[in-house]
Subunit: 297 residues, 2 copies
């Protein structure tokens, strides 16, 4: 078998980003950490750590790091049978891919319902978060992908409703002649990043045409709302984040009867099902409460 003391040193260097901090975390000297990584690299014949500030993992290093974290997860499920382990064991870290809008609306209350876990969240678009799981870089994902990924269980969560919103001043400036193909092609639009297809999808549904507005790229859910409020652009905002602004009139819906529902799913690696059972239950129950316009639940 692999040497798990060495692997633990590797994971600590990758997670903390430095040999010194890894050493402090493991209560050994930096040279002991360095020695362990070196032995591991010699045995495997590949470089595992890019010595930089911060230190990062090579591809193989990352794979080993994931492996040792999964082993730690499995170990933690022994706790029930071996009470002696409890005292010495640290809380397990769950690396999970989440779309930014779920983090901004319902995911934190779900995290708060669990006990004894640490979360390492990776943000990615709901159309891409499943890839993290497929690559084995996370143990679970909130995703738009509705069929189970190999080795994973898939739980439907309901749908997050999006409303195309802008400030009244913005609409007065760009849409006095109505909201149509011509005006939409000139009015600045907010997108999260290049992966974000929501705005263009919605334009196609509503106007029946491919429209390519000038784009601001703003990779933050809250910044999207703030930029809409400030009149910088219009964007598809999750209803829970804008409902109060819509009520008070600080934001208006471009097409009040045309919202867009994005179905979400919780996919979770079956290997860690037992360890993560509480998290899955919290996520599913919180999503079903918060995603009021749920589909398929």
């Amino acid at each position: 078998m692999l040497d798990y003391a060495h692997l633990t040193a590797l994971a600590a260097v990758i997670r903390t980003g430095s040999f010194e901090r890894a050493a402090q975390q493991l209560n050994v000297t930096p040279s002991a950490v360095s020695q362990r990584i070196k032995l591991l690299e010699e045995r495997l014949g590949v470089v595992l750590v890019v010595r930089d500030q911060p230190c990062t993992a090579t591809e193989v290093g990352q794979r080993l790091c994931q492996h040792v974290e999964q082993v730690a997860l499995l170990e933690s499920s022994l706790k029930g049978s071996l009470p002696g382990l409890q005292a010495e064991s640290l809380p397990v870290t769950l690396r999970i891919a989440v779309n930014a809008d779920s983090l901004a609306t319902w995911f934190i209350p779900a995290m708060a319902k669990t006990e004894g876990y640490l979360f390492d969240l990776v943000l990615d678009d709901q159309d891409h978060s499943a890839e993290w799981l497929r690559r084995g870089e996370v143990v679970a994902a909130v995703t738009g992908h509705d069929t189970p990924i190999q080795g994973c269980d898939c739980h439907p969560l309901g749908a997050l409703r999006y409303v195309a919103t802008a400030s009244p001043e913005y609409c007065g400036r760009w849409f006095t002649d109505g909201f149509n193909e011509l005006t939409a092609a000139r009015a600045p639009c907010l997108i999260f990043n290049q992966k974000d297809r929501l705005q263009v999808e919605w334009l196609r549904q509503v106007l029946g045409a491919d429209v390519h507005p000038p784009l601001h790229l703003l990779p933050s859910s809250q910044a999207f709302v703030d930029a809409a409020l400030a009149g910088i652009g219009w964007g598809m905002n999750p209803e829970p984040l804008v409902i109060d602004h819509l009520r008070t009139g600080r934001l208006v819906a471009l097409k009040p009867d045309k919202s867009l529902d994005v179905p979400l799913f919780w996919q979770q690696s079956r290997i860690v099902s037992r360890v993560m059972g509480n998290v899955t239950r919290a996520v599913v129950s919180e999503a079903r409460t918060m995603l009021a316009f749920a589909i398929g639940t």
Copy 2:
């Protein structure tokens, strides 16, 4: 000289992520776009676009893309002298690196004060955002780096004040024996990502020791506040985001007299100084209003 029709096609493919969308944006056929990229690749003898979903740039492709965007920026500064250009020219896109907490607090009001620009924001830690500028991947950055980067002008913005905050329930659970080295080493702490050294820095300043608490990684400014409110962990939150919660008692400061001021600077490529003058003025003026606890201003 390089063929700028070909380079424009390259930039459109990289920005939209597909040949089809680039073609629509440029009002040509996808095969014309494909042909232009191919000619460019053949002439330069390197691959410029990774054909994938979405299409991404190779390192050289990225460099050329930055070049063509800078040329577009320079062209836009001709507008004043050549009014005939005005009608046909599109707004210029400014790629800027910003730390997430600036985006969450004062950067959007600064954007709203400008006219005729599109923003492509890249988020990175204030200790790392300057690297984007050094690599030529952005034209400006909000950074903690206080000496001018080569070819750039540096404007001090003041400092963003951070307060170590948690919910009263969280403090009741983890700090009933006081806030000290021992309790801080057990209480779950929020960090933004591995680059985020604020919490550990603050612990060192306040406790005079290197403390390594269990960590949640939460890469979102608003999620940091939400997670503190939900009792998931404590974290260094920007004062503007938590001041109301501190007043109402939903959050408490772990050490009310020990805040941490992080000085910020606006560094901006001198080549585009004229084009970006309005943006620099808006950024500097907004920062100086919002960063109330300014240092060196």
